[in-house]
Amino acid sequence: MRHDEPIGPKSPLYLQLRELIRSKIENGEYLPGTAIPSVGALAETYGIHRLSVRSAISALIGEGLLKSVQGKGIFVVGEKLAQDLETAGGFEQTLKESAQRSETRLLIKAARPAGTLYAGRLGCPPEEPLFYVKRLYLLDGEPLSLEEAYVPQDLVPNLPDVDLNVFTLHQVYAFYGIRLARGEQSLSISRLDAAEARLLDVDPHRGVLTLQCVNYDDSGRAVEFTRTHIRGDKCELNVRFQREV
């Protein structure tokens, strides 16, 4: 959906602002995954009414270029937001009890070299710079799973500016036009060390389900290695399979 007629000095102010924000997204001044200035700030900068700012923004939200997050701000989506419509063959988490409220807590977002272990998992050199993201998922305030992700920095260079409480990593990949095509998953039961057991609020000797995945894009490059420790008392993993024809 594009503007039908050229925007000029005589065009309504909200249309001028709409096109200004669009061009700032296109030229990279407003980066995908980051918040644009607030309605008040934009109104003040350009000396226009807040209602005009709101109309400009809601038009862009309607186009899918921006996303409004309650209490957080207006975020740039850039590339159209991709959604995982279907996964075939992978593990799915099934909760043992239904929950009302889910919540993600970002624990660590940092840079690190791949090192031997993750170089092996991702098929990159050990000195490859990675982003390391560690998040805790809670349901109704109780810890459910602890996820760590290792992602080559060159794939998602502006990850440090993205609010991972708002966007999932899969959405960030979509910002960069990365399409996950397939994954290899491996499930084991492991014992956590004392610090991680405390985070998940489990007895370290009881063991947790540990799901490790390497996900690849459509060109076959490894995009992420993830390790998710899941509480076995809260969740089961489910897989469907079918005879290959």
Binding site: G64, L85, F91, A111, I189, G232
Partner: protein, 249 residues
């Protein structure tokens, strides 16, 4: 952006796992001594020892008192796609499955089983309990239920030397077509512990599988308790993503 500084315990674990990646060390190889690793990595011996202990419990390393720490044998890998029988899958990995038949008898659906099979209470089933071992090491206790009317005379078949699915296919014309598995954690009962040579209360995989045949009927309902230090469960996943917008997808 900050540089990640792992806690010593996490670092020890990562470095130890790194030794096993890409077969730098192979199953059966001995790890360098605790002292040399602690010097090379700048980690305390206590930290290193607890990381080794966790990896031992997970079945990645083995300690033999007096002779050192070794890389554990590769776990048996069960891939959930493909519907291979356990013996076929093991053969592909160069391993041998042995089966001990613990129980084979006719039984009746209780409330729970009746719901699974979509039948009334008392619907006749065969119950088959088997201890499966890989290369002579106990791996899991499997309890299968099969509708009796489809497999009459099952008790005359040799289920210790033939795969159950092969018997179902060749002798009864029942072909597995699709299914579903649920995997969680359970803790070994005294009986399971004794059969599998572990301690009561050790965490085990709890695998519930439902397999449907060519007619769409539930042909087998199976519950297994498996040793996680000897089993790894894998699957491949395909992700289909689609753009979310108003236009053509």
């Amino acid at each position: 952006m900050q540089e990640y500084r792992p806690r010593p315990s996490a670092r020890a674990r990562e470095l130890l796992e790194g030794l096993l990646v890409d077969y730098r060390l192979r199953p059966g190889d001995r790890l360098p001594s605790e002292r040399s690793l602690s010097e090379a990595w700048g980690l305390s011996r206590t930290t290193l020892r607890s990381a080794v202990a966790l990896m031992e419990e997970d079945g990645r390393l083995l300690s033999r008192p007096g002779s050192g720490t070794f890389v554990a044998p590769e776990k048996y890998t069960r891939n959930l796609q493909g519907l291979l029988s356990m013996s076929q899958a093991a053969a592909q990995q160069g391993r041998k499955v042995t089966t001990r038949l613990l129980e084979l008898r006719r039984t009746e659906c209780d409330k729970h089983l009746a719901r699974r099979f979509n039948q009334v209470l008392g619907y006749p089933l065969y119950k088959i309990v088997r201890l499966r071992s890989v290369d002579g090491e106990p791996l899991m206790v499997e309890t299968s239920y099969i509708p009796a009317r489809r497999v009459s005379g099952l008790e005359d078949k040799d289920l210790e030397h033939n795969s159950l699915f092969r018997v179902l296919e060749e002798d009864f014309g029942i072909l597995p077509v699709q299914g579903e598995e649920k995997i969680g954690i359970t803790y070994a009962t005294a009986e399971e512990a004794e059969l599998m040579g572990i301690e009561t209360g050790s965490p085990l995989f709890w695998i519930v599988s439902m397999t449907y045949d060519q007619t769409g009927e539930l042909m087998e309902y199976c519950r297994s308790a498996a040793r996680p230090d000897r089993l790894r469960i894998t699957t491949a996943m395909e992700l289909r993503t689609e753009e979310v917008d108003g236009g053509e997808a």
